[in-house]
Chain length 193, copies 2
Amino acid sequence: MRTGSSRGSLRVLGIDPGLTRCGVGVVDVAPDRSAQLVHVGVVRSDADAPIEERLAVIAAGLRAVLEAHGPDVVAVERVFAQHNRQTVMGTAQASGIALLIAGERGIPAATHTPSEVKAAITGYGNADKRQVQTMVARVLRLEELPKPADAADALALALCHAWRGAPAASGRSSSPLTPAQRAWADAERLARR
Amino acid sequence: MRTGSSRGSLRVLGIDPGLTRCGVGVVDVAPDRSAQLVHVGVVRSDADAPIEERLAVIAAGLRAVLEAHGPDVVAVERVFAQHNRQTVMGTAQASGIALLIAGERGIPAATHTPSEVKAAITGYGNADKRQVQTMVARVLRLEELPKPADAADALALALCHAWRGAPAASGRSSSPLTPAQRAWADAERLARR
């Protein structure tokens, strides 16, 4: 399964949850923060299908990515109730499926907010999508910006998780940070103010 | 698997989704609307465990009920973004798991709002929990009110689904109603105004 991963690197599967499109991105991140693209894609479900079938299609697609690439950890975008009420329930359900497929295999999962991701990638919590995508492409040495946006967001989530020192999804204390990670985390906190 | 179900009856698994407690109730409902209790219980997850493990525990518990009782259809309480923001995301994620386990096995699923359930059970969409529980116990000829409340809610959901003529979760047209069901549905609509 592991093809491009060097020893000591962390393989992260980032998932941008959604009912219609779930972005998935797998990266290997070395201790020096350099990163390598392993996989990027989108799991889709048919908007005309019943919700239970859509969720089953998404679960099967995410499991296939997990099986193919064997990540050490899964990072999922955190969904908030107050945003975009019409679609938020479907997004929350898809995020539940994303966390479930990690939990079923005993792989740790974590969630990160969009502003945490932006701050981790660009140093600025209010960065726009284009800035995030440009930085993701640069870090991963891609010739083009990753598309669609959901796939780019999933890669950004995965990088964010590796760089932030992996705060847990809930109910679990954060991993200890190195001094460099702590300095970075402090800078991010300032950037988010 | 089918033990108490008579021919022509519909076996419904009702699920009241939650991260800490998922109520589950299985009933057989005959065409004359009489109903029989098959199973009632609660699937719990440890509030101190990471979210991905909690969702895996809930999925395993719900799958066990599905395997043991082989319902024809799964009815899940519909979650709204505007209610109780602090827990709504966890509830939405659990509802996604409930719908997923149906979809994975090709069992149709449907969602019903709390007021639909109250109206179907008591004829009154603003009925309180106690009124709903009392009616559920009477219909199922139980000597005590079902406990905890999540288990009672799951039974109410299952009865509601069978009695309402099974509107689909989404993206699917309703089953045709019999004249009696239509009259009942009309009465419920009036009761909810």
